[in-house]
């Protein structure tokens, strides 16, 4: 990053870029949030994390985008949380794993530099949004987001150096991203993810291919080898078809040698394939978008495997051996546990621009579990929005995946200030 800033100071780069986007943007959100917790969650077996019965707090997202000079910008996106009832989160073994009363995270902080019309550099922490999916995004192999990462714009990005080269046919990106897993508390990365992305058009079809490979790792550290392909096509009758695909090798890190988590061990050296198919309809002359998605999750378990897995957790809880549990959370949390899902999204923007309403639901076909998200944004004026987010989990039985989440439901009312 220092090198890029020095480069920027020495050379004004290609100055046309600043003409494109507005020079400054700043926004601040405050969101009081209430979430009753689920005592039977597999993410908190038998309340091993020793949490309250509910979480209440105020989260805040602050963002600004600033022009440094004609060819470079600085972007910041930070996330703060303060909870009057929060406390240290500990295992029953007294190991502290966090604090839910007060914290601040930098989600994104990056600097970009346009060297020439066809060469672009970016350095810092940035969230990458590969793929077409709305509810799931399997093709995002470098920065996976899960169903529960809402709001998506407040999620943590990855540290990277990125170079983009444009061609007549499309573009090619190369990423270098340090990996910090399994190196708790260390400032030095335990490895490097090397990634690429290629975007091009083939007749009417937009095709993207992206891949990542972990290299320069220490022994025993997670290794990722994954490839994502995503494409979209628009038809004249306002229908958009999208297809996303991911294939990935499960890495040694994903199989902690712990018999209690034996369902993982069986999966060693398997190749997993995931597919997301989507169909969107924008209703003509109305501000309504309807989208249906089918997701086959190659990482997922069959029902029997999942029950074995949960039994493994229970054993782990009985012996109070949580050595691999945190690893499991770190690595598996971004991935859902079932195999087949259906999703539905409905977005309505009021014709007068006063409010937007978004409803999303995901249905787990294998275990009849359901999760619903409802967002309502009211635009009070040009500077202030009010919004409401509701999330409700449900399922047919105690093994239903969405019913096993740590939150039963979540309710938030927020206010956004556009400062510039």
């Amino acid at each position: 990053m220092v090198l890029l800033i020095v480069l920027c100071c020495l050379n004004n780069g290609y100055s046309a870029f600043a003409d494109l986007y507005e020079s400054n943007y700043s926004r601040l959100d405050f969101e009081p949030t209430f979430s009753p917790l689920n005592a039977n969650s597999i993410f908190n077996p038998n309340n091993s994390l020793n949490l309250n019965e509910f979480v209440f707090g105020i989260r805040s997202v602050s963002r600004f985008y600033n022009t440094i000079n004609d060819s470079s910008h600085l972007y910041f996106n930070g996330y703060g949380w303060v909870s009057p009832f929060g406390k240290e989160v500990k295992w029953k073994t007294e190991k502290t794993i966090g604090n839910d009363s007060l914290y601040y995270l930098v989600n994104e902080l990056y600097f970009d530099y346009v060297y020439s019309p066809s060469i672009y550099w970016l350095c810092g922490q940035k969230r990458e949004a590969w793929g077409n999916g709305i509810l799931w995004n399997p093709a995002n192999v470098i920065d996976p987001q899960i169903l529960y990462d809402r709001p998506i714009e407040a999620q943590k990005g990855r540290i990277m150096v990125r170079n983009e080269q444009s061609y007549d046919w499309g573009s090619r990106d190369i990423y270098l991203m340090p990996v910090f897993l399994n190196s708790e508390g260390s400032l030095f990365p335990s490895g490097v993810d090397l990634a690429f992305k290629i975007t091009g058009m083939l007749n009417d079809l937009e095709i993207n291919v992206g891949g990542v490979q972990t290299c320069l790792t220490n022994n025993g550290v997670r290794k990722t080898s994954a490839l994502g392909v995503w494409m979209s096509r628009v038809y004249p009758n306002n229908l958009t078809f999208t297809a996303d695909y991911r294939c990935a090798f499960l890495s040694p890190y994903l199989y902690p040698s712990d018999d209690d988590l034996n369902e993982n061990i069986k999966r060693k050296d398997q190749l997993s394939n995931s597919v997301l198919l989507g169909l969107s309809l924008r209703v003509p002359y109305k501000n309504i978008t309807i989208r249906g998605e089918y997701f086959y999750n190659g990482w997922g378990y069959t029902l029997q495997e999942r029950q074995n897995f949960i039994n493994g957790f229970n054993k782990m809880n009985n012996t109070q051996n949580y050595s691999n549990y945190q690893k499991w959370l770190d690595v598996y949390e971004p991935y859902l546990l079932s195999q087949n899902y259906l999703g539905f999204s409905f977005l309505y923007s009021d014709i007068l621009g006063i409010y937007d309403w978004q409803f999303q639901t995901a249905y787990g076909i294998d275990d009849q579990s359901v999760v619903c998200f409802n967002n309502l944004n009211v635009h009070l004026n040009d500077k202030i929005d009010l919004y409401n987010r509701i999330m409700i989990n449900g399922g047919k039985n105690e093994y239903s995946e969405f019913k096993q989440q740590i939150y039963n439901s979540q309710f938030a009312i927020g206010i956004s200030f556009y400062l510039i």
Binding site: D204, E206, P236, G353
Partner: protein, 244 residues
């Protein structure tokens, strides 16, 4: 025998000639009118006002980058909640970029723009000389005191935005004056009035009236135009995604 065949050919040629040349002529007039939108490389700074009966007007501002017939990039600059949203047209493909979720989505030109009376395609594809078959139905039609060609356009391509368009083009200088948009069955959808033409015959005020929602209209005002050689790279997905 040879003579009678030759006579038949000449007769058929004479029958076809006026029809072919009339169609060519109509196409040429439409091409001439739309050349004003697509001749060169410009940056437009525009205000976009959505008017609904009994409601407060909604104002947007945007920058439009235009190069030739098939490249356009529109970036919203106000209000802040849509700031840096962008629309791109490159050839027949069109995308929208949402900076908050950092996603580009491929779109159809037939989708409605920001709840207005314009479709994306109405401002991304200004040129009606492609995808339609043109025929002059009146060459002395009067619109607000201007004598105009009245030209009917019927779609010949699945990607055309409308099934039928009636286009009024001023006879004196080929300035575009009015467009009426219809469904295949002839139901009028809306009317676009183009006025305040500048020295290059570019209309500075575009007003779209809905025929289906009484009193509903959207005004696009071109505040300033800057001629500038815009690099081709601007009109690419990569540039679109470089926003925050």
């Amino acid at each position: 025998m040879k003579k009678s065949i030759l006579t038949a050919y000449v007769f058929m040629f004479c029958l076809l000639l006026p029809a072919v040349s009339a169609e060519d002529n109509a196409g040429r007039i439409v091409g001439q009118a739309d050349k004003n939108f697509s001749n060169g490389s410009f940056i437009f700074y525009t205000d976009f006002i959505v008017c609904r009966p009994g409601e407060k007007d909604i104002n947007y501002s945007m920058k439009n980058y235009i190069k030739g017939k098939d490249k356009m990039l529109i970036i919203f600059t106000a209000p802040p909640r849509v700031q840096d949203q962008a629309l791109l047209r490159k050839g027949d493909d069109q995308w929208i970029y949402f900076p908050d979720i950092k996603k580009t989505m491929k779109i159809s030109g037939r989708q409605q723009l920001l709840g207005s009376d314009f479709l994306y395609g109405d401002i991304l594809s200004l040129d009606l000389s492609n995808g339609y078959k043109a025929s002059i139905v009146d060459d002395t039609a009067e619109v607000n005191g201007d004598i105009c060609y009245k030209i009917n356009l019927s779609s010949t391509s699945l990607t055309a935005l409308y099934d039928k368009v009636t286009y009024y083009i001023r006879k004196d200088d080929y300035a575009p004056i009015k467009r009426e948009f219809y469904t295949k069955s002839g139901i009028k959808l809306k009317t676009l009035i183009l006025n305040n033409h500048d020295i290059d015959h570019i209309p500075r005020r575009w007003e779209m009236f809905s025929a289906l929602q009484k009193g509903s209209s959207t005004i696009m005002l071109i505040k300033s135009i800057k001629k500038k050689d815009i690099p081709d790279n601007y009109f690419s997905l990569e540039y679109l995604r470089r926003g925050r």
